[in-house]
């Protein structure tokens, strides 16, 4: 039932304002997974309540799993059961008991036991599946932990290739690389040949046991030669292992990679993107990239990590390629390539970035509506790209709508983003309706800054204050603009560039008193522009006697302070 779950399942609880950001979404899907795990725990611990079978036909995945051991006497059947239930310690104990009782254990069964121990590294796997996470596998145990496997191996009367294989693969998995090679030599000494799994494990372990790049590559070539001698056919995994190992070989790896790819093509092995991504990241060859994408729609094969293709198309700024890659996602099961939500966010982030840079704003907006918020929650960099695109195409009138989205996505606490948006709005004067909408938006931002119940309050900067004030002035909301001046004082910022704008607006309303106030404010900030202002006010306004006196007082006080 797990595999058939809706792949596009997203957070669905509506009317709950915090569902727009990407991190909560991951949190919610993890929370749901852990709820399911909790339920599974109950179901498997108390199976007697879930035995009644309503379903006709029977649905086996909805029955409780039997995780408890049934067979308890010392016998081979008990050992088989323990291996099946993945109870490593119990299996080892049962094996020891069997040997002590003198019952011979068959070779196949011993091999199964060895596989089990190697896979789980000598301790029981955790109960229940961990929710889908990008955590590492359990930390590689120390080299002594493979004692059980080695002990049983040494006790075996006869060993075949499979036993050696289990041991080698276990050692490689848990980090005992040199031991793995020793065991391989042992295998050869016993006149047995390796199989493809052994060679894959050894190839992936090769970079760890040699220091220099050249030596590493030599070892890998040596292994491949031996593989050919022993008539073992390489598979996809072999080539992937080689390519992965090449990544660890630095520059030498890059030169060797192409022949490997060609050989893969020659052998007609269905190429996996895993293999190719290594190359693309290292080589950035346009040719190989193009030929690859041409093949895929025909093959429709399952690949991995398609976003690396986009990485490299980005660096070429090739929007056509990007569209082709995006359409590839619609073919067959390629959507699975995007990986988990982290990789998806990287992919869509880069895609959107490319769009904003290269395409016309209408196209950008079309994609914006399509991608956001159903597929991708842009981070603040994404929103800045969008603002940039709006600026390039002169569609600044859309900024208030974008601001609404920014708020919903929770990016309103990112000072750079907000300031950039404000400065874009404040840069030039717009037609009146747009100016009014800008003014509303600016007031909204101001309210955000002055909110006291935020955990991390936004701090005013000179830039944001001046932007808001100039927007308000341009929209002729003089009252609110004057209030902003008070905020300047509170935030200890200086309104340098705004004085002239203020003077213009005051002249428009022909309010002499306000003009005098303006000069006073300017003087209180000790702005260099004060004498200039004073002159202009004295010339351009009809001042009363009192006002003239105030001005001359100010003049003398500023002259003294100079």
């Amino acid at each position: 039932m797990d595999d058939l779950r809706d792949p596009t399942e997203r957070a669905y609880i509506q009317n709950y304002s915090i569902y727009f950001c990407v991190r909560p979404q991951k949190l919610y899907s993890l929370a749901q997974e852990s709820g399911r795990t909790a339920a599974k725990y109950f179901i498997n611990t108390y199976p007697k309540y879930f035995q009644k079978d309503f379903a006709n036909p029977h649905i086996p995945c909805l029955m409780p799993e039997t995780l408890e051991l049934q067979v308890n006497e010392v016998s081979e059947a008990a050992l088989i059961e323990r291996i099946q239930l993945r109870k490593v310690k119990a299996a080892v104990d049962m094996y020891d008991q069997l040997l002590q009782a003198g019952t011979p254990v068959s070779l196949d069964l011993t091999n199964d036991l060895l596989d089990l121990i190697s896979l789980y590294g000598d301790c029981d796997p955790a109960r229940g599946d961990a929710p889908e996470q990008r955590t590492e596998e359990m930390v590689s145990l120390t080299l002594t932990s493979n004692n059980n496997a080695e002990r049983i191996f040494n006790m075996m009367p006869e060993r075949n290739r499979r036993s050696y294989g289990a041991l080698i693969r276990g050692m490689v998995k848990h980090g005992a690389y040199s031991k793995a090679f020793n065991t391989y030599t042992d295998l050869l000494n016993n006149r047995l040949t390796g199989d493809v799994h052994i060679f894959n494990a050894l190839i992936s372990a090769a970079p760890e046991v040699r220091e220099k790049y050249v030596e590493k590559w030599d070892l890998i070539v040596d292994l491949l030669k031996q593989m050919a001698e022993q008539k073992v056919k390489p598979t996809l995994l072999t080539f992937n292992a080689v390519l992965k190992a090449l990544r660890r070989c630095g520059s030498l790896g890059r030169t060797q990679a192409f022949p490997v790819i060609n050989e893969m093509k020659a052998l007609g092995i269905a190429t996996s993107a895993q293999g190719h991504t290594e190359i693309l990241q290292d080589v950035l060859s346009e040719i190989s990239g193009k030929s690859f994408t041409a093949q895929d729609p025909d093959d429709g094969i399952i690949k991995t990590q398609i976003h690396t293709f986009l990485l490299f198309t980005d660096s070429l700024c090739d929007i056509e390629q990007a569209y082709r890659v995006h359409s590839l996602l619609g073919v067959g099961e390629n959507w699975k390539l995007l990986g988990d939500s982290y990789y998806q966010s990287i992919y869509y982030g880069r895609f959107f970035n490319l769009l904003c840079m290269m395409e016309h704003i209408d196209v950008v907006l079309k994609w914006y509506k399509e991608l956001i918020p159903s597929l991708y929650y842009p981070n603040s960099q994404g929103m800045r790209d969008l603002l940039q695109a709006l600026d390039t195409d002169n569609r600044l009138d859309l900024i208030p709508q974008i601001w609404k989205d920014i708020k919903r996505m929770g990016h309103d606490n990112k000072t750079e983003l907000v300031e950039e948006m404000l400065s874009l709005m404040a840069r030039e004067n717009q037609i009146p309706e747009v100016q009014q909408s800008f003014a509303d938006c600016a007031l909204d931002v101001k309210a955000l800054y002055t909110q006291t119940d935020r955990r991390v309050p936004l701090s005013w900067s000179a830039g944001s204050l001046s932007s808001i004030t100039s927007i308000l002035l341009a929209a002729e909301r003089t009252q609110q603009a004057w209030e902003m001046l008070k905020l300047f004082k509170l935030a200890n910022r200086v309104p340098e560039s705004l004085m002239n704008q203020f003077l213009e607006s005051v002249k428009a309303s022909n309010n002499a008193q306000q003009a005098v106030e303006l000069v006073q404010i300017s003087a209180s900030f000790c702005l260099s522009i004060t004498p200039n202002l004073m002159e202009r006010v004295q010339q351009e306004f009809d001042l009363t006697e009192e006002q003239r006196n105030t001005l001359s007082d100010l003049e003398s006080s500023t002259a003294m302070s100079d």
Partner: protein
């Protein structure tokens, strides 16, 4: 035969809405007179002119739309809380569906204790059981997701059919009038 057993063969709206807690009370007071024998069990009586009706009181008690309208208003001004096809002619399993519904209501009432804004609506579409709930914003959203995942999985395994929960959040209970 390969016909899948559906507990809800045709998608149709027919049922009587039962007021759950009164019926629960009835089931609660069931007595086994002879253990292991066959006997009559009876429960407390709830007359039809008192069931699912909230009587007019002082005027300080808020009631939702669903509570305020009485059962004779079903199919006039009210819908059904439980939707399945067992009450159609020739269909069986009505009693089983009812008991399942009650179990589900009690389970959800306890799991999401204090968070339910109104009665559950349980819909059956083919094999699928859909539980539609209105919830208040009492818990942080990740806890809701946890509980939803838990309930869905538990009920699926219990009833051997896919169970989905659809939740809508409200800020507070919607009051229709005060009685």
């Amino acid at each position: 035969h390969s016909v899948c057993y559906n507990r809800n063969s045709i998608y149709h709206f027919i049922d009587r809405a039962e007021k759950p807690h009164t019926v629960c009370r009835q089931l609660n007071s069931t007595l086994w007179l002879n253990v292991g024998g066959r006997s009559i069990h009876s429960s407390a009586v709830c007359c039809k002119n008192r069931a699912a009706r909230i009587r007019v009181g002082k005027g300080d008690r808020p009631v939702t739309y669903e509570q305020a309208l009485h059962p004779h208003q079903i199919a006039h001004r009210k819908g059904w809380l439980s939707q399945h096809t067992s009450n159609l002619q020739g269909e069986d399993g009505a009693a089983d569906r009812t008991v399942e519904d009650l179990f589900i209501r009690r389970l959800i009432y306890g799991t999401f204790h204090g968070c339910l804004a109104d009665e559950l609506v349980i819909k059956r579409r083919g094999n699928l059981l859909v539980i539609c709930a209105l919830m208040l914003q009492k818990l942080p959203p990740h806890k809701y997701y946890f509980l939803v995942g838990y309930t869905e999985e538990l009920l699926s395994h219990f009833y051997k059919c896919p169970v989905k929960m659809e939740i809508q959040m409200l800020e507070e209970k919607s009051v229709y009038k005060y009685l």
